[in-house]
């Protein structure tokens, strides 16, 4: 009976997957085996695209490297920041509603306006960041305008968007049962013990979720390159999905772009599977594991 209900309730999602996702996905896989140039030729070339990708295309390896570099920096930063902020926001402090709104605001600003702001902040001559640095005696940086500092600058920029992860952490914190904290207090434990023995273990499902989502999303970072840097300077911010998008919709090379996409898919799949598999070791479900 449970089985029938299970399938029934998951049915809409499964139908949705079949209709709206699977078919286009298979189509794109098919396209990746062709040399389809939009408006032009379309012929089956087998695994040629993949071969080119792995052996000849310098931008493939470059963009992959750039993306991994960015992810390795941005994900921990944002996760840690978001967790910390969520903890702060979970306090009984006056004006909490206002604080919670404020911390979430940057996420609400439309990309177009946000980009303008950061371009201004990153300006080497009169931008805010260099002005602040200057006032404490550190010389100004080139930020997104120099190859070496462009990705770190974007990592910094990504921390502004920690509101999303923070909101989820907060919802998770809300769900930690009070009696567990009380138990620690009865044993004479202070805030750090509570954190280590109650908060973090109980939050592991949420942490797990945020981690997987962060991985999947950060690997597909796009907007910053699309709106702000166009992959420069010198391809140092040529994020993978931006490169893919450009190949598809500017160079019209749909076949190759699909190959790039499936390449990324496999990479993300592999990495998330790793996290999923190891999750049994460190994620604790109050409701019992499946």
């Amino acid at each position: 009976m449970e089985r029938n209900w299970g399938i029934l309730l998951a049915a809409p999602a499964m139908i949705g997957f079949l209709l709206f996702t699977l078919i286009p996905m298979i189509a794109s896989l098919g396209f990746s085996l062709t040399d389809w140039n939009i408006g032009g030729s379309f012929s089956f070339i087998g695994l040629e695209n993949y071969k080119t990708m792995l052996t000849e295309d310098k931008l493939f390896s470059k963009s992959l490297f750039v993306t991994i570099y960015y992810t390795l920096g941005s994900v921990p930063l944002v996760m840690a920041g978001a967790f910390f902020i969520a903890m702060l926001l979970n306090q009984k402090v006056k004006g909490l509603s206002i604080f919670r709104t404020i911390f979430y605001l940057p996420v609400l600003v439309p990309s177009v306006a946000n980009t303008m702001l950061w371009l201004w902040m990153f300006n080497p001559d009169f931008g805010l960041l260099n002005t602040i640095l200057g006032s404490v005696g550190i010389s100004g940086q080139q930020w997104i305008y120099s190859e070496s500092t462009s990705i770190p600058s974007l990592m910094l920029m990504s921390t502004w968007g920690l509101g999303n992860a923070a909101v989820i952490f907060l919802a998770g914190l809300q769900g930690v049962p009070a009696h567990l904290y009380e138990a620690v207090e009865v044993d004479g434990g202070g805030p750090l013990r509570k954190l280590w023995h109650v908060t973090i273990p109980m939050m592991t499902p949420t942490i797990f979720f945020n981690l997987v989502m962060a991985l999947i999303n950060t690997f597909q970072v796009f907007n910053e390159a699309y709106i702000m840097t166009e992959g420069g300077p010198n391809n140092s911010t040529l994020f993978y999905v931006y490169y893919l998008f450009r190949t598809a919709f500017k160079d019209s090379q749909m076949g190759y772009a699909c190959a790039l996409a499936w390449g990324l898919f496999l990479i993300i799949l592999f990495l998330s599977s790793l996290i999923f598999l190891t999750s049994r070791k460190w994620v604790y479900y109050e409701g019992g594991e499946n």
Binding site: P12, M25, A171, P177, E185, G288
Partner: protein
């Protein structure tokens, strides 16, 4: 059901009172500092929205608009039919929010609470769809909708949400699944013993306990639809159907942009979301602990 525990403890022993005050001040300090940092983009946005082109880019940067160009707002919002765009966007929001709430809840419940063969595999497969960049499924999906005659309508933008996909669809399923997994089984077991069906358990027990998660989903999905540009760009042709995101993009031409208008329009578009969020996030405070029974 009372509010949640404070993690930074209120100490039991009286001798810790001075530490208590310090830690409180410290927290306030951090919050205020963080707020200033976070508010910066918004403040810059607002100040620019009241400035003329030449003042926005003045350096050293100026903070007080001289003169206060209220006209930016009136001109920005009327030169482009934002009222129509707003209605269109709200229509899409309504359909997507309703759809995603229903379909993701059902699916997440099934994936987390009901045991059936192949459940985890199906879940992983659906989850993996997020890993393929949207750019490459865009055209095949577009072709499919063309065959169905749904081009230039909001159907491609809304119908998938009713089936667990669409904007944020899979994300919502995943989030809810995690949330449901942390609900103690004892609550359901009691209901099953009483002869309840899984649907009843879902409606009676799981859903009421998951309000914070639903609020999160509503907010995220609302914002995602509000800001979605690529979808409307591809599927909508008529000006009368355009959404706010497209309206905003109109101000950014190929060779130049009307920055004052862009900023004003951005503020106008962001403000309702801010208000919505402010109201909605109060539910976090009135959140419900997942122990169900207290004391």
């Amino acid at each position: 059901m009372e509010t949640n525990p404070v993690i930074n403890s209120e100490p039991i022993k009286p001798t810790r009172k001075s530490n208590f005050k310090l830690s409180r001040i410290f927290i306030y300090l951090l919050l205020v500092l963080g707020s200033v940092i976070m508010l910066f983009p918004f403040f810059w946005l607002v100040r620019s929205s009241f400035m003329g082109m030449n003042q926005i880019f003045a350096f050293p940067p100026e903070w007080i608009p001289k003169p206060f160009m209220w006209s930016n707002y009136s001109e920005a919002l009327t030169s482009v039919p934002f009222d129509k765009y707003l209605l269109n966007t709200l229509m899409i929001e309504l359909l997507v929010l309703a759809g995603t709430l229903v379909s993701s809840t059902l699916a997440a419940y099934s994936f987390s609470r009901l045991r059936w063969k192949g459940r985890n595999i199906v879940f992983m497969i659906i989850l993996s769809t997020m890993m393929l960049p949207y750019a490459v499924t865009l055209i095949p999906t577009f072709m499919m909708w063309k065959e169905l005659g749904a081009l230039n309508t909001i159907v491609p933008l809304t119908l998938p949400s009713w089936f667990g996909t669409g904007i944020n669809g899979v994300f919502n399923i995943f989030l809810l699944r995690q949330f449901f997994l942390s609900i103690p089984r004892e609550l359901e077991e009691a209901a099953y013993i009483d002869g309840a069906s899984p649907l009843t358990v879902l409606l009676r027990i799981i859903i009421p306990l998951s309000k914070p998660a639903f609020i999160v989903i509503l907010i995220f999905t609302f914002i995602a639809v509000w800001n979605d540009f690529l979808g409307p760009l591809i599927y909508l042709n008529d000006d009368s159907k355009f959404t706010l995101a497209i309206g905003l993009a109109t101000f950014k031409g190929l060779y130049n942009a009307q920055w004052g208008y862009l900023m004003a329009a951005s503020v106008a578009i962001v403000t309702p979301i801010v208000l919505l969020y402010f109201v909605a996030q109060r539910y976090f405070i009135e959140g419900i602990t997942l122990t169900g029974t207290k004391g």
